[in-house]
């Protein structure tokens, strides 16, 4: 399989968020700021890369009947590891993401890639797939985080862009804003990008 295709699939054509609607919980929950979105995206990418690699390496040793529990253990191990490292070196981000770090385990995107890609394809391709899907996920989180942060608090990545005079629409950084922003962005994605691909 062509590596370029895998990359393109992960980031655009099968974008985990805008096309496949996978892993919606963290997508909606942590995108109050672009920084949190980026942190969550990269943490998920690291887990995806790790789990895809290990599962591709182990696929011949795991009996198919206990495939899913084994995958879950591998994924949970990487999630816990990333959580510990973040707690040690990026404590602010760790606190901001809170419960959604352990919940990376049940992000359907990761188990989905393990089941549909890593358990069938060679290790190299699985690694590329993990990184691409992870980056596609990160891209969506950062875009959503940036839009919500800009409208909701007048800044992006914590940089004040719109100044004091801008009446920040706080609702956008609150829960309803997550649904509204993602709904509008998905519609926009449908209009702009899908048309071009077709």
């Amino acid at each position: 399989m062509n590596m370029g295709n895998i990359v393109k699939n992960g980031i655009v054509r099968e974008n985990p968020v805008f096309i496949q609607f996978l892993g919606m919980c963290p997508v909606l929950a942590v995108t109050g700021t672009a920084t949190n979105g980026l942190g969550m995206g990269l943490a998920t990418t690291a887990v995806l890369l790790g789990s895809n690699t290990v599962i591709a390496l182990m696929k011949n040793f795991i009996p198919s009947k206990i495939r899913i529990p084994s995958f879950i253990v591998v994924i949970a191990t990487f999630v816990t590891m990333i959580g510990m490292v973040m707690n040690a070196y990026l404590p602010d981000l760790f606190n901001a993401l809170g419960i959604f770090i352990p919940l990376i385990v049940v992000n359907c995107l990761i188990l989905g890639r393990a089941e549909s890609f890593a358990s069938k394809k060679p290790t190299g391709a699985s690694m590329v797939d993990g990184i691409s899907m992870g980056l596609g996920f990160t891209l969506a989180l950062v875009v959503l985080g940036a839009v919500r942060e800009l409208i909701g608090s007048g800044s992006i990545f914590g940089l004040e862009l719109l100044g004091e005079a801008y009446p920040a629409m706080g609702i956008m950084v609150q829960p309803p804003g997550a649904f509204l922003a993602l709904g509008l962005l998905t519609a926009l994605f449908n209009v702009v990008i899908l048309k071009r691909i077709k």
Partner: protein, 196 residues
Amino acid sequence: MLDLSVSSLFAILVSAILVNNFVLSRFLGICPFLGVSKQVETAFGMGMAVTFVMSLASIITFVVQNYILDPLGLQYMQTIMFILVIASLVQFVEMVIQKTSPALYQSLGVFLPLITTNCAVLGLTILNIQENYNIVETIVHAIGAAVGFSLAIVLFAAIREKLEIANVPQPFKGFPIALLTAGLMSLAFLGFSGLV
């Protein structure tokens, strides 16, 4: 010591159902919320299946945390243990229901495998530990979370049934309009904040 005052239990219950609704304000369980909400009947089935698993999972993880992980100092195994408990519980419940009540299996069976990756269940069990709930509070919190989840998904399904026949602009068809609807529901639930 067990704190069993009715008012604090009631606060936990109301908070989990309305103020911090698992789906609409904590964003837990979004996948089934968006995926299994096209018809009120299936949404209700999913709600019942989740209620069942949530209550059992909360009790078992409470025991695992307090009598296995904490005494052994293995808190870092929490995520792995909890997800394994939930996965085996789901499998077990599926087997039991299939053997004892084919009718119930007909209605709930299809949802059960989906529940393992429902982050509302794992999220609930982790929150129980984080909030330091005792066993009674844990059960009340589980019931509140499950009722909150069922309430949100059934209401949402009822709206989506009507949306099916509405004339929606092409780019908004499917997920975008569903998300916007969920946003308006979440806005309505925001009105409960400050209640507890």
